[in-house]
Subunit: 356 residues, 2 copies
């Protein structure tokens, strides 16, 4: 396998935005989706980065995603709101929900927003990262079509059910976790198929529920945790509860799949949940900041285990390192996506991104 | 190893409460601690059950725990409060915090309470279980003295950092997860030492950071997730952020250890966090209830994987089954605890619990 070609971040960004506009998205939708995809591609979450552009264009074309949504925010009791996304592209719905949660938390100390009638939102970490940059602890989660088995189960039951949380750190990049509750993200399996790589052990099973490392034979992912996979499945359950019963939207098993058949144009009507916490509602900002800084310094100074291949890192540290490297050397694009971009450029008369 | 002796639940409960009262706890403290320990012992969380009675008595005796606390609740902005536990036994602090969170969520839709100056609170699941019984989604978490390494780390860094969440299910027991973010609870290592059992693979390391299954050689636990242990470590980080920077209390590495040396009587000043969500602030109760019931029915009907030793279960299902069995056959008490109970009975002139 050869190294993927690198492109400049700014030219990829311009390409994504113009492709989305040409594909029927309004300006807020195109900007939100571009921003979230570039977040993923800049930070190394390639599974949820620019490679998803053709997918979003296909569901914009089919009408499955509403490119000109009228998003409604219904403020509820006290510190709550319900956001009806009107079938918007998930990135726009999630940025808006996070903004509303932060707005509420400014005066109420905490804000919770359920998201209704949304669609795939890419890398969940983009939204709490924004919240953390505003000085708030942010959480965003959403279910998705079933791709992960239950602990001891055979068939797809939960979505990959990401939980993304960001926390502000004064003078530094945020603490940022963005974890699938599956042992591997579904999009990474597709990426590994495209790149011809084998899967790690114990992350996926075949049609009988037996472990496999062949991305072509992998039918269903396993919950994170291995022998303690009941914990991963329980975390996926938390995501499901916040995304379906609490929003009135569908369970993972009931959602129209993201891939696998041509889009009928029916909206996916996905649920999700955004939460923001204002630290200063609980503690003096200088105390919060001092303890966060001490905590992160302790992580970065921790002694590695004998035989460890890496050194201890804070959630996000790997991403900031990738971001720096890619700012210098460009953002890689896998061969399948390169081909798709060339096709799109022809179809819509767009300027292709520039090689780095 | 012989089967541990069984005792009746009601006589254990009476024994615990009278021992705590005799040991210097006031009635609310003794009742809260008894209720939480019995929650654990009835549901099969033996590591956090009645076996901890001698520990709580020892720290009541040393003054490390304040048996007559003046707990203060400071309502903050909007949907928040700060609870100052005045060195109370952790069970009392956590039940109170959860009650305050639920009270706030009744009118604000969501309620968040930080806990200051608390102490060990036993099984974290006891508190969100109570919230779920009131019709609220509850979350409770707290850090504790360092016992779990970072991913790729050698030394103890985070507490076992439990995350416990309960969600109401109409007409049924709640959905209830109570997971250590370590690969195994610290108290279970101590229990396995007492019972002479080997640890599972990949849950603990020796002084060099190398895996071991010997509970006597185990120096530090590993974060849950195995090769994806960075996820377990990130979840522990979430617990740490909610418990220390957000409360002004100590990091796990800074806390006075629970075990390992005689208590000096200095309070442990532990932090924690309670959250309650009122589902009806977001969605009609009958819709929430119908989707929860459908979700749980789907879990319980899921097909097992080929070679699976168990069938798929919802979080809590294993516990309700144990609870039913123990209601019939009594609650087991390990030999080390039996001996300690006999000593306490002599010391305080208490009636020993009755064999089942």
């Amino acid at each position: 396998m050869s190294e993927p070609q690198r492109y400049t971040s700014s030219s990829l960004e311009a390409f994504l935005e113009s492709a989305l506009l040409a594909g029927g998205a309004d300006v807020p939708s195109a900007r939100a989706a571009t921003r979230a995809m570039m977040h993923a591609s800049r930070l190394g979450v390639d599974s949820h980065g620019v490679r998803l552009l053709p997918y979003y264009l296909s569901v914009l074309a089919s009408g499955e995603i509403n490119g000109h949504p009228q998003i409604e925010v219904l403020r509820g009791e006290g510190a709550t709101a319900v956001l009806d996304a009107d079938g918007a592209i998930g990135h726009l719905a999630c940025y808006r929900a996070m903004e509303v949660a932060v707005d509420i938390a400014r005066t109420q100390g905490i804000g919770a927003v359920t998201i209704r009638r949304s669609s795939h939102m890419g890398a969940a970490g983009a939204y709490p990262m924004w919240a953390a940059e505003q000085g708030f602890i942010g959480l965003l989660t959403a279910n998705s079509d079933a791709a992960v088995r239950l602990f001891d189960g055979r068939d797809a039951f939960h979505g990959t059910s990401p939980i993304a949380i960001g926390a502000p750190v004064p003078g530094q990049r945020p603490w940022l976790m963005d974890m699938a509750t599956s042992a591997i993200p579904q999009n990474r399996v597709l990426l590994y198929r495209s790149l011809g790589l084998r899967l790690p052990q114990g992350v996926a099973v075949d049609e009988k529920g037996v472990n496999t490392t062949d991305p072509e034979a992998a039918r269903v992912l396993s919950p994170v945790g291995g022998e303690q996979g009941f914990k991963g499945a329980a975390l996926a359950g938390l995501v499901e509860i916040l995304s379906a019963p609490l929003t009135g939207m569908a369970l993972s098993t009931e959602l129209v799949p993201m891939y696998g058949q041509p889009s009928t144009g029916a909206p996916r009507d996905m649920g999700g949940f955004a939460l923001a916490i204002n630290p200063s509602a609980f503690i003096a900002p200088e105390i919060y900041g001092a303890i966060m800084i001490r905590y992160l310094a302790n992580i970065r100074a921790a002694v590695p285990a004998e035989g460890a291949t890496g050194k201890p890192m804070a959630p996000g540290d790997r991403e900031w390192a990738v971001e720096e490297e890619r700012a210098r050397n460009g953002v890689p694009v896998d061969p399948v996506s390169e081909e798709a971009f060339a096709e799109l450029a022809g179809q819509y008369g767009l300027t292709l991104p520039q090689k780095a």
